[in-house]
Amino acid sequence: MGKRALVIGIIGLLLLLAGLPGLVNRLTHGHLYAGYSTPVPWALWVVLYVYFSGISAGAFLISSMVYVFGMRQFERIGRLALFTALVCLLTALLFIGLDLGHSQRFFLLFTRPSFTSPMVWIVWLYTVYFFLLLAEIWFVMRPSFVRGGEGKGFKAGLYRFLTFGVRDLSPRAMERDRKIVRILGTIGVPLAIAFSGSVGTAFAVTVARAYWHTGLLPIMFLVSALASGGALLTTIVAFVLPNGLGEHREEVIGLGRLLVLLLFVYFLMEIAEILVSLYGTVPAHFIPIHDQLFGPNWWIFWILGMGMALVGPMLILTFLGRRSALWTGIAGLLATIGFIGIRWNIVLPGFAVEELPGISKSFFEPHWTYGLYIPSAMEWGVTLFSVGVGVLILALGFGLLPLRAEEAPA
């Protein structure tokens, strides 16, 4: 694990450094050099926030198959799923935190919340989820901390510290831990469903944007969370774990089976949304879909969305992935990348229609650009930085934490 973790860590560090100028610009000049504008107020960072928070919920729900529903076939990747959920949550929060106009006032979300806002539901649910995730990870890893803390060196010292003095490995203590993990996981399942659904609800409640204002959207968020979480997990198990394709062949193929089902359900929902909106003549429904399919960003829909995230992986998983961990891994990788396109096309087409006819051509001011949104260099910088931070935390986990339960599971 050590060498791999180092390589991942270096990749993360390089990403972080590459994006550092963007972050510095964001911190010193605020949003002045942003490509988003008032007519397109939510853009790349919101897309990636939705993407990473979705993966977090998805990975967590997959971990619950082990810890709540007792599906032993995924036992060996349970810890990895939990840790992936944590890393992606932190990455998502970094994105959305930097997206705020006054990031330093985030605490107001706790001190003077307005519970009519779905954004508050999300934030409060995240907070509970975050602590629950930490607790669950600790209980799951505690036996490894105790055993690993017996030797000498930095890692053993770290593990001794991380036991927080709870060193009891008797069958009774282990049984108690297992119960606690099951309870935490059981609370976590509705929590993860609620928060990924709430992110969808935050978009869906805006009557001003007909494209989002559908009852299906929160459900689509949930399904895409599961699908993208499953896809990233498949990728990590297949290509990042040492000898993942060999040693973890069963898990990879099992995840692939789950993935194909989730992708298919999402595909159906997507088709339903498109057909219903495209059939009519209501501009607010029609234009966002039409622009996605045939506008200048057609490739995001056709290549990233349909090709890489949905149809491609579904075909690969159906015809090649049933017996091949390699193909399943490739399908997972394609879907992981492709889902960024799906998320993009959830957020940005919402701003495709001018609020009042003619307003887009009535005046010209900076940061009032209707139409095509192109992320600025500053936005790309912050994006590289935030992803770099996520990759770096992942590498630290790989290097230092017992992500694989080598010994008989607790």
Partner: protein
């Protein structure tokens, strides 16, 4: 028989209406506007007056004259719709705010609390009329021309407080906040009409208390010519248009 009618200046009547409304308790007022599209010539004086009154930087737009063209040359027509914030009685921007930084006052005006707004821009997404702007921190002359013009860094007096934008500190409000039209609340409280209303060359803007049946604005809002924008969304705007 001759019917004797007293013809009063529209401006004078609006000021009388305003005085009457200001004597009532806050919650009994309902500030509203009627904009007569037949009197609008598209001169943009309202939009400019708004920019000046509120010292609005580039990119922050409270009032805009929407300019639409119809037909093909030579059979063409234009239509102007000036759009301040419509001060909805059922404002979609308010419930989505996560920190109560935007709220509806008892007199119907939807205001912003600059010191609370976290800049999440949810209200911008939620507004069906494009009436809100994010303050990205742009200036007209700072960093643009060798000499910084004094008017570029002057404070505005929105909400009756000195709102000083600082070119060197993007973390200081109102930079980084969402901003919107507030019917020039700071002027209203001093008995003055909103800048756009006071400046309109064709008196297309009628302002006053919709709760006062004697007021000009209430009488015109009851006209069969009056419509409200996107009525079907149930937002109940306080701004009416005469077609």
């Amino acid at each position: 028989m001759l019917v004797e009618t007293e013809v009063k200046s529209v401006t004078l009547q609006m000021y009388e209406d305003l005085d009457r409304a200001l004597k009532k308790p806050l919650r009994e007022r309902h500030w509203g506007m009627v904009i007569d599209t037949r009197k609008c010539v598209g001169c943009n004086a309202c939009a400019v007056a708004c920019k000046i009154e509120n010292k609005l930087p580039p990119g922050v737009v409270y009032n805009v004259v929407i300019d639409e063209e119809f037909g093909t040359y030579p059979n063409v027509a234009r239509r102007f719709i000036s759009r301040p914030c419509l001060q909805c009685q059922n404002p979609p921007c308010v419930p989505v705010c996560p920190v109560n930084a935007t709220y509806k006052r008892p007199d119907g005006i939807v205001v912003m609390d600059y010191d609370t707004c976290i800049g999440c821009r949810y209200c911008i997404s939620a507004c069906p009329y494009g009436a809100r702007s994010f303050d990205f921190g742009n200036f007209y002359t700072v960093g643009q021309t060798p000499e910084v013009m004094p008017w570029d860094v002057m404070p505005s007096f929105e909400y009756g407080e000195e709102q000083q934008r600082d070119p060197r500190n993007p973390w200081r409000s109102p930079i980084g906040n969402v901003r919107k039209c507030h019917f020039c609340l700071h002027r209203l409280e001093k008995g003055m009409l909103p800048a756009c209303v006071a400046t309109c060359i064709g008196q297309a803007y009628i302002f006053g208390d919709l709760n006062d049946p004697e007021s000009l604005v209430a009488q015109l809002a009851a006209s069969p010519r009056a419509i409200r924008l996107k009525e079907e969304l149930g937002t109940e705007p306080s701004v009416y248009y005469l077609l």
